[in-house]
């Protein structure tokens, strides 16, 4: 049975209560979708549609991040030696990938990213970057390790239509010190070789520009850069390579200026969506398709929807997708 139709913006505190389609609190996910294609943004963020089966890459990435986050929490307790922390993390990951309902392991159809390669990657990564890592997790003033940090702060501009402030929100994996300097640390997995080309794709990059801004503004740290642990996940091995991503002040300002203009565009679309909605017309028409990106990123999940006639898409969406609310303001809890 389909979930009841209920736009995700309703009751979502990330959206304006004065201009219903207007998102006020943005994270790198929602910004990324909006920059990629306004229609895709409308379907995924405003309406909350996501494919019924989640992407293997998303699941794998979340579990890998979750494992490393837990390890870093364990390791900030001096009594937790590497082997015990690793064992606890592996127990968590093995349970998280066990389908209790069906009493079987997580079934992935990807030969590179599956349960065994995940558990292997956790062991290999933590053996390599766990003990003896020159990166030391920053301890915050409240005594907690700077791991999985939620942030939100005003961007310094407001919606011209509603006067509500625009916010930016999100989560950083970890802040760490290296030779007295502070870095944001993240891990990215890929099936491809980790080389200079792999790291070059993060400049420019919406997500990492968000992180650099957050490190400097939300955590009052003089962030030197972003350290990325690239993890190549192959069928028989996992290979790691550490790289440095940097942003100058002027690059961050340029990115912010662009963001402000994207927000103005989002407001124009929201105003038009309300007008269409009030006339009984489909508000999705306010959000133009970027039909040059449908085939990119392994193909857009909504390509099949956008290929239908405008009048009949709603039923297809209801049948092929499920709905969820994406709210960047919801902080992730401590582990």
């Amino acid at each position: 049975m389909n979930a009841p139709f209920h736009p995700a913006y309703l009751g979502n505190s990330a959206f304006s209560s004065r201009l219903p389609f207007l998102q006020l609190a943005w994270d790198s996910t929602s910004m990324g979708e909006f920059k990629t294609c306004a229609r895709k943004y409308y379907y995924t963020l405003v309406m909350g549609y996501v494919p019924r089966s989640e992407s293997v890459h998303l699941i794998f990435g979340l579990l890998l991040h979750g494992a490393i986050e837990r390890y870093n929490h364990f390791r900030t307790n001096p009594a937790q030696v590497h082997e015990i922390a690793l064992l606890n993390v592996l127990k968590w990951a093995a349970s998280a990938t066990w389908n209790r309902e069906l009493n079987r392991p997580w079934a992935s159809d990807d030969k590179n990213k599956n349960r065994e390669t995940l558990l292997r990657t956790i062991v290999w990564y933590l053996d390599e970057f766990g003990p003896g890592d020159p990166l030391e997790t920053v301890i915050l003033s409240n005594g907690k390790p700077a791991v999985e940090l939620s942030f939100q702060f005003p961007l310094g501009w407001s919606s011209p239509a509603t006067s509500e402030p625009m916010l930016i929100a999100g989560h950083l994996d970890r802040l760490a010190k290296l030779e007295g300097r502070t870095y944001i640390v993240d891990i990215k997995s890929t099936k491809n070789t980790i080389d200079a080309k792999f790291f070059s794709k993060f400049t420019p990059d919406n997500q990492f520009s968000t992180y650099m801004l957050a490190g400097r503004v939300a955590f009052s740290q003089s962030v030197e850069g972003l350290i990325v642990d690239g993890a190549q996940i192959a069928v028989t091995f996992s290979r790691f390579q550490r790289g440095l991503i940097q942003r100058s002040e002027s690059q961050v300002h340029e990115w912010l200026d662009g963001l402000r203009r994207y927000h103005l565009l989002a407001e124009q679309y929201a105003i038009r969506a309300v007008e269409l909605n009030d006339k009984g017309q489909n508000p999705e028409l306010a959000y133009p398709m970027n039909d040059k990106v449908c085939g990119m990123y392994n193909g857009c999940a909504f390509q099949g929807i956008c290929s239908k006639n405008p009048g009949g898409r709603h039923e297809w969406l209801q049948g092929q997708f499920k709905q969820r609310v994406w709210n960047p303001l919801i902080a992730r809890g401590d582990v």
Binding site: E83, A94, V123, E128, G132
Partner: protein, 86 residues
């Protein structure tokens, strides 16, 4: 002591073969014994050693990005699994 000139045999890693790892991973982890967990970790570590040896013997990787300081290789673990009170 081996005196016959035959190659010494060890069964120490018999339990850590890929087959036994696959069998272990097909079971509910909630029912693992402490020894099962040790076997899983050791099997993955054994894979890593064998892969690293194969790499060192000839496989050449693609050009790499400028490397940042990594961890010291001498401290791959604080304490062997066998010494821990699980």
């Amino acid at each position: 002591m081996t005196t016959s000139g035959t190659i010494p045999q060890s069964t120490a890693l018999t339990e850590a073969t890929p087959e036994s790892l696959g069998e272990l991973l097909s079971r509910d982890p909630e029912r693992y014994s402490d020894m099962d967990w040790i076997k899983v970790i050791e099997a993955f570590r054994d894979q890593r050693v064998r892969w690293a040896q194969a790499e060192a013997m000839g496989a050449r990787s693609a050009p790499k990005a400028k490397a940042l300081p990594g961890p010291s290789k001498s401290s791959a673990s604080d304490k062997p699994m066998e010494e821990l009170d699980l």
